[in-house]
Amino acid sequence: MTSVIPAALAGLDIETRPAQVRRRSRDFYWYSPVLKRRLEHVTADMVVTPRDEAEIARVLAYAFATDTPVTVRGAGTGNYGQAMPLQGGIVLDLSALDRIVRVEGPVGRFQAGAVLRAIDRALQPHGLELRFHPSTHGQATIGGFVAGGSGGVGSVTWGTLRDRGAVTGLRLMTMEAEPRTLELRGLDVHKAMHCFGTCGVITEVELPLAPAYDWVELIVTHDDFMAAARLGDVIAHEDALTKKLVTAIAAPVPGHYLFKGTVGEGQSVLLLLVADFAASVTRQLIAAAGGRIVHDQRSAEARTPLYEFSWNHTTLQALKHDRSLTYLQVAYPPPTHLDRVEHMWRTFGDEVPAHIEFIRMRGVTACSGLPLVRFTTEERLAEIIRYHQQHGCPIFNPHVFTLEEMGRKDVDAAQLAFKHSVDPKNLLNPGKMLSFDDPERMTKAKGFFTFSG
């Protein structure tokens, strides 16, 4: 494919300047030194920014006719090259499809390219907000989140995108000679979620919303990381305490990279977002556990929202200070999650500074980890990953770019059948779904997969 605009796409917003195209062909894959090396060269041939579904249909029909790969992009805030076009072709930037379709009772329907923060602002007059969002709330789109994310700020109450009922409807376009528009509802939505855009082009997302309370941000320090983690566990378990974020981060990360001046070098922190009417009882729980509150402020008044130091923003803030850092994504299965957290923390010490996010997982409070890793070699990184896996802590590997290798999802027969029906030529984000692209390698690698969706 050349950079000449084909007649079939005339009139569309198309970018072909190589530097611009290259910039819009990438995400935050460089958090991983491994992906950085592997994906550095990746670029599309052009970026098309459709204004509506009719224009998307034109792009898909053209791509189908010419066997051109199409990789859908929201804001490009993924961390594993989710929206990076491994085989070139077209990047389909959905950021212009950014309308609030409707808000009906506690349910909202949004075009895929709507930015999460813009959605929450638009919901304010309704007294509603998204149940949970990634730390990239200010940039990420709802479509990108559903296609490439899993949980975030709010998951301590609402679980993750995988949970039944987290998304109530998806509108989807197929990659066919004549693209169809499908509406998935109920449990069917999972056919197209967390597929990195390999299972159709999501154009609208419908999901239940939460009440928008006045949130209070708290930073609590502890001399001992495990004391912070245990207090986080207590608070996360309190069913009556309306909360949105419970994050524990081990020293010296908070003092060095996150809250210089506010938090001392030897101190670990617990970050909390609780509703204003739950704040005073939360402060009591903190005091009873020996925590010290060093920051206590209404979210609405915060210059930088506290959640921009949590989830994968922790990694980002640290990377700003030290480019040799990377991270992992770990599950610590309950009910012994804290024992496992402690074991890993003691085993690796400052080589893998602990960072845990409390979440609801199938009705139980658990935590997932996004520990930093002071990267030396790929061999050592693999060793650290293996050690976690061998000690009952599954890793969702953020240093690979296929769905299956991440351990994030078993692509089952139903999923494959759906993929065949919506993208028979395998042109949507090719190279990301191993079981479709390379079934043989998939079988060989079986033992590696740790997580079933």
């Binding site: 009772g105 949970d163 039944r164 309190e238 009591q284 139980v364 409070t365």
Partner: protein, 459 residues
């Protein structure tokens, strides 16, 4: 009686009832669910009912009570089941039903007087910003918020919000002490536990701030299952769905559904699951229900229920017992906890052991951050000895019983002597005049029914 007469003398324009039949009627609750309490408490009556209009009048009543050494027992809707509001030593019953103002509805909370009816609070909060109480008992229509907090523990909504004692489920309480000069105290945070579930033995709650939940349009569902354990496993699975908004997940073993609740919907051998699910979670719920062994026998919106029928929650919690009692006065019930994570195994063991002598009724709740179930199992009562045997078997099997056949705080198995509540009673009721006879610890501070049992109110 002359002490009471002296008190009445001083009441002035405060409403006082002394007509014996009326006094007797307003001195009782649903204690008769228990054949044991029926026998023990049948004679209980106050000397007078006093009905203050506001907190200032409450203060006048307790000050007079203190001066004349008259016991004062606070009453809300009288919907308790263990004689919580029954005046064991006579004296006056302080009926708070006129303190029923809803003072302020905020975003996520409401400030109310203690005597406000739960249904009225909900009606008001729904119209002002689509909010509602997080939890309420099945006696939603007649129960008061003060009575619920002084005498209840959980209910419809606990599958999402846990127990009343969980930090955050009560934000503030205003309490009047029974002293020469009564004080008005404001308790917040952990201090609330001093008066929460204390049956009004250590202060009179006059006002509360409680959190609110969003008021969704609730869908009422009744499902029928051929096998009780299939019903239980389904209910447990629904209970654990974090993204699926739910307010009620109840399981009732055959033949209770057919015999006492809805013979038109449920066959004799079918067990029931009763649910309340938010409208916008129904697509996901329908997919899960379709994959289950059950059939949907009834599905409607709560706002479609007219006067000819009752909301489904009035078949659950302690209303299940009430319906059964209407058919068969020999039936009574138990209250138990099936501790997680092996709660389903324990349910099955009890189900198999007792069969139809103890038809199971489960209410799924969040308890200490986990999903589990309480049992409000029916008991086909024969003798006190057999009832105690059944209780003992549950306790021995790791299913602690919160005995609803006892009228004291401690005997209910809710807790041993709660030293915090006892200490607060010494401060707020130095003469021991508030609801006397309900707190064993007042007379015997070292009372401990059993040191190694799991108590509902332990944290």
């Amino acid at each position: 009686m002359c002490a009471v007469a002296a008190l009445i003398e001083e009441m002035g324009d405060i409403a006082v009832e002394t007509q014996p039949q009326k006094v007797r009627r307003r001195s009782r609750d649903f204690y008769w669910y228990s054949p044991i309490l029926k026998r023990k408490l049948d004679h209980v009556t106050a000397d007078a009912i006093v009905t203050p209009q506001d907190e200032a009048e409450v203060i006048r009543v307790v000050a007079a009570g203190y001066r004349h050494r008259v016991p004062v027992t606070v009453r809300g809707g009288g919907t308790g089941n263990y004689g919580q509001a029954m005046p064991l030593d006579g004296g006056v019953v302080l009926d708070l039903s006129e303190l029923n103002r809803i003072k302020e509805v905020g975003l996520g909370w409401v400030r109310v007087e203690a005597g406000a009816k739960l249904a009225e609070i909900d009606a008001q909060c729904r119209s002002q910003g689509k909010q509602e109480l997080r939890v309420h008992p099945s006696t939603h229509k007649t129960g008061t918020i003060g009575g619920y907090i002084a005498g209840g523990s959980s209910g419809v909504g606990s599958i999402t919000w846990g127990m009343l004692r969980d930090p955050g489920n009560i934000i503030e309480t205003r309490v009047v002490t029974m002293e020469a000069e009564p004080r008005v105290l404001t308790l917040r945070g952990a201090d609330i536990q001093k008066v929460n579930h204390a049956y009004g033995t250590n202060g009179i709650i006059t006002e509360l701030v409680v959190p609110l939940a969003p008021a969704y349009r609730w869908c009422e569902i009744v499902m029928a299952f051929n096998h009780f354990m299939d019903a239980t496993r389904f209910a447990n699975m629904i209970g654990r769905q974090d993204a699926l908004l739910k307010k009620l997940v109840s399981v009732i073993a055959a033949p209770v559904g057919h015999e006492y609740l809805r013979p038109d919907l449920i066959g004799k051998t079918e067990s029931m699951v009763i649910l309340m699910i938010a409208e916008h979670a129904m697509d996901a719920f329908a997919s899960l229900a379709a994959a289950s062994e059950g059939r949907i026998a009834l599905q409607r919106f709560a706002d479609e229920v007219d006067g000819s029928d009752i909301p489904v929650f009035e078949m659950t919690w302690n209303h299940t017992t009430l319906h059964a009692l209407k058919y068969d006065r020999t039936i009574t019930y138990l209250q138990s906890l099936f501790p997680p994570p092996h709660h389903l195994d324990k349910v099955e063991a009890m189900y198999r052991h007792f069969g139809d002598e103890v038809p199971l009724h489960l209410e799924f709740v969040r308890f200490d951050g986990e999903v589990t179930c309480f049992g409000l199992q029916l008991v086909r009562y024969t003798t006190d000895e057999r009832l105690l045997e059944i209780i003992e078997f549950h306790n021995q099997s790791g299913c602690p019983i919160f005995n609803p056949h006892e009228y004291t705080l401690e005997g209910g198995g809710m807790k041993r002597v709660d030293q915090t509540q006892l200490a607060f009673k010494r401060e707020a009721d130095p003469l021991g005049l508030l609801n006397p006879g309900k707190m064993i610890g007042w007379d015997n501070p070292d009372y401990d029914e059993s040191a190694d049992r799991r108590f509902l109110y332990d944290k």
